[in-house]
């Protein structure tokens, strides 16, 4: 696009963001402040992820953008278009074909490889924010690895409800040191972060923080020995592809309680559906 640099941001800003990314990779799970810029998309709509993606994209990259696991949700469309327009790069909806995947709220079902990078959009990077409002305070708590407050919250959940009530944005310990928000992915996706082969980058635009999980890093959801972390998933199989291992969206079919459960990862579901058709054709 004329009048703007490759991938919108000027090179100096990209350099500043890359420095923050390098620092973040060096200290897994630690939130690194960066001079976040105003983007032409609103705060809260993925400006952190967009800045990280803009800073790491090269002309040969293939970009996939998902929101809620789907490539076709309006905001995913809008962000994909933004990069197609400002960087002129190739985009894809296939997880396996992408070199960079920007996501909001999901990790693809297809395992990611070492030559891929996943960029998470993060609304609230501070995992302790709901327990302690002051960022000056939480910064100190991270420095001292003082996470008792979060353990108490989990314990109170168990005491009150019999189990932990956090179903998304489930707090994790990264590399045994930093408590981290995995962004609002469902708890179902949290285990995928553990020792993932791909580099995981997190961008929070409004809060101006970047953090990272280098490949093959330990990521453990907080839990207790007698109350281990457990996944939350609708018990059904996908109504379109029959998957029993994928995270499902619940679709309201009518006003008489009719529900259809379908894969939230549209690429995964479409892939399974076409595989089924091939099998049917072969049979």
């Amino acid at each position: 696009m004329s009048g703007y640099n490759f991938a919108y941001l000027d090179e100096q800003t990209k350099r500043m963001i890359r420095r923050a990314i390098l620092k973040a990779v060096a200290i897994p799970g630690h939130q690194v402040p960066f001079g976040g810029r105003e983007m032409p998309l609103p705060y809260g709509w993925g400006t952190g992820g967009i800045q990280v993606t803009a800073a790491i994209l090269g002309p040969s990259d293939v970009l996939k953008v998902i929101d809620q696991g789907a490539d076709d949700t309006t905001n995913a469309v809008s962000i994909r278009r933004f990069f197609a327009r400002t960087a002129g790069i190739e985009t894809t909806t296939h997880t396996a074909d992408a070199s960079v995947i920007q996501t909001r709220h999901r990790i693809p079902e297809t395992p990611l490889r070492a030559d891929q990078i996943i960029v998470y959009q993060v609304p609230l990077p501070e995992p302790l924010a709901k327990l302690e409002q002051s960022r000056a305070e939480t910064r100190q708590m991270h420095a001292l690895a003082e996470y008792g407050l979060m353990h108490v919250k989990l314990y109170e959940d168990i005491a009150r409800y019999g189990h932990i009530s956090i179903s998304y944005d489930y707090p994790v310990m990264v590399n045994g040191r930093y408590l981290m928000s995995p962004s609002p992915i469902p708890a179902f996706d949290t285990p995928k972060m553990h020792r993932m082969a791909a580099l995981q980058l997190f961008g929070a635009g409004r809060e101006k923080r970047i953090y990272a999980i280098p490949p093959h890093t330990d990521v453990k959801p907080l839990d207790f020995d007698d109350h281990p972390f457990r996944l939350t998933r609708a018990p059904q199989a996908c109504g379109l592809c029959g998957a029993r291992d994928s995270y499902l969206d619940e679709v309201v079919m009518d006003d008489r309680g009719g529900r259809l459960f379908v894969c939230s990862d549209t690429d995964y579901c479409a892939g399974r559906q076409s595989m089924r058709q091939d099998e049917d054709a072969a049979a």
Binding site: P42, Q68, H105, D249, T266
Partner: protein, 368 residues
């Protein structure tokens, strides 16, 4: 109803933008509004957009207002997003508001003072009666004879108080480059330079409400308007190849200096303290709100009890930016199917547990 995966996001977006453009244009039998008209006749709106958009350019602000259909926060966002793409190659010398070409200058603490009281173009004493004559087009305004402008600097009221030592000295000026939160992430504790920058582009409504809250007792600091001045100042820059300042243009500013009570501390005798407001364009409401909140945020520094929202630096600075605020509030419109689904599963499980527990209790009670 059969379920089809929701496709067509791209087409929907294009259609939405097309519809928006038509809505913006409005009734085609009426002439289209021009940006020059907006810049010239909706000056207060332009000023607000320049202040919150953090970019002094009345023409671009007018364009943003037109593009945003008069939604001033959306317009400020457009201007901010443009501003952020501009290179930052230098910073100006501090502007000299003593040398301001005054349009308006009032003090609420002295009846008369050097430089005088200049009422200027103010709504203050208008009777708020709808002027139906304005609804008629082509209303002629007879030009007023102009008085000669004074070329003398007008001393500030706070300087007069300072001569008697009754007010704290103004902040120490240092050679250090002031902080810039458009380049660096906001960090706490935030110094006054960054606080003032943040307030100067903060949401006018937020500043107004917080300033108001201090008057109603949430962090009262007994303010007096020492002085408000509105007018034009020269912006000077020292190009490295010249080594002396040159004027690159003039901008309109509103400045408010509040004089506040202070009972003194162990190290300081009783004296007046300052709250400072400065913003682009003509907006006394913004400058006053800013000055009240600036003073409130100095509570800790002055050894006062910081208990009210306006005194909580982190609270004020984290929430005064309306571009950030509107983005995050409005992002709730984005799909949250995935998190909501996990909440559905959790609440179903919790309800099942609760129902089973109640049933068990009832059963036990019935047996007993």
């Amino acid at each position: 109803m059969a379920y089809v995966a929701v496709k067509g996001g791209e087409r929907a977006i294009d259609a939405a933008h097309d519809w928006l453009a038509r809505a913006r244009r409005g009734d085609r039998s009426l002439p289209e509004i021009g940006t020059a008209q907006i810049a010239s006749q909706l000056g207060r709106a332009v000023d607000r957009v320049m202040a919150e958009g953090s970019c002094y350019d009345p023409d671009l602000a007018a364009l943003a207002i037109k593009q945003a259909q008069g939604d001033l926060i959306e317009a400020a966002f457009l201007l901010r997003a443009y501003r952020t793409t501009l290179p930052r190659f230098a910073h100006s010398e501090p502007v000299e508001t003593d040398a301001m070409l005054l349009r308006r200058r009032i003090s609420a603490i002295y009846k008369d003072l050097p430089g005088g009281q200049v009422l200027g173009p103010t709504y203050d004493y208008t009777h708020r009666l709808l002027d139906f004559a304005l609804a008629a087009e082509s209303l002629e305004v007879t030009p007023l004879p102009l008085a000669a402008a004074s070329s003398e600097d007008t001393p500030r009221v706070t300087a007069l108080l300072d001569q008697e030592g009754l007010i704290e000295p103004s902040g120490v000026s240092t050679e250090a480059e002031p902080g810039d939160l458009t380049r660096d992430a906001l960090a706490f504790p935030a110094e006054r330079d960054v606080r003032l920058q943040s307030l100067a582009r903060g949401d006018e409504g937020f500043l107004l409400a917080l300033g108001y809250s201090t008057q109603r007792g949430y962090g009262n600091n007994h303010p007096f308007v020492g002085e408000i001045r509105v007018g034009e100042v020269a912006v000077e820059l020292v190009p490295p190849e010249l080594g002396f300042p040159i004027t690159i243009g003039t901008i309109t500013l509103t400045e408010c200096e509040m004089v506040n009570q202070f009972s003194g501390s162990k190290t300081e005798p009783p004296q007046f303290t300052r709250g400072y407001g400065l913003c682009f364009g003509h907006s006394e409401r913004r400058a006053m709100g800013m000055a009240l909140v600036d003073r409130a945020m100095r509570a800790e520094e002055l050894g006062e009890n910081a208990t009210a929202p306006a005194q909580d630096i982190e609270f004020v600075l984290s929430h005064c930016d309306n571009i950030e605020a509107t983005g995050f509030v409005e992002h709730l419109k984005l799909p949250h199917y995935v998190d909501f689904q996990s909440e559905l599963e959790t609440i179903r499980r919790m309800r099942a547990t609760a129902t089973a527990a109640t049933a068990a209790t009832v059963a036990t009670e019935t047996e007993a």
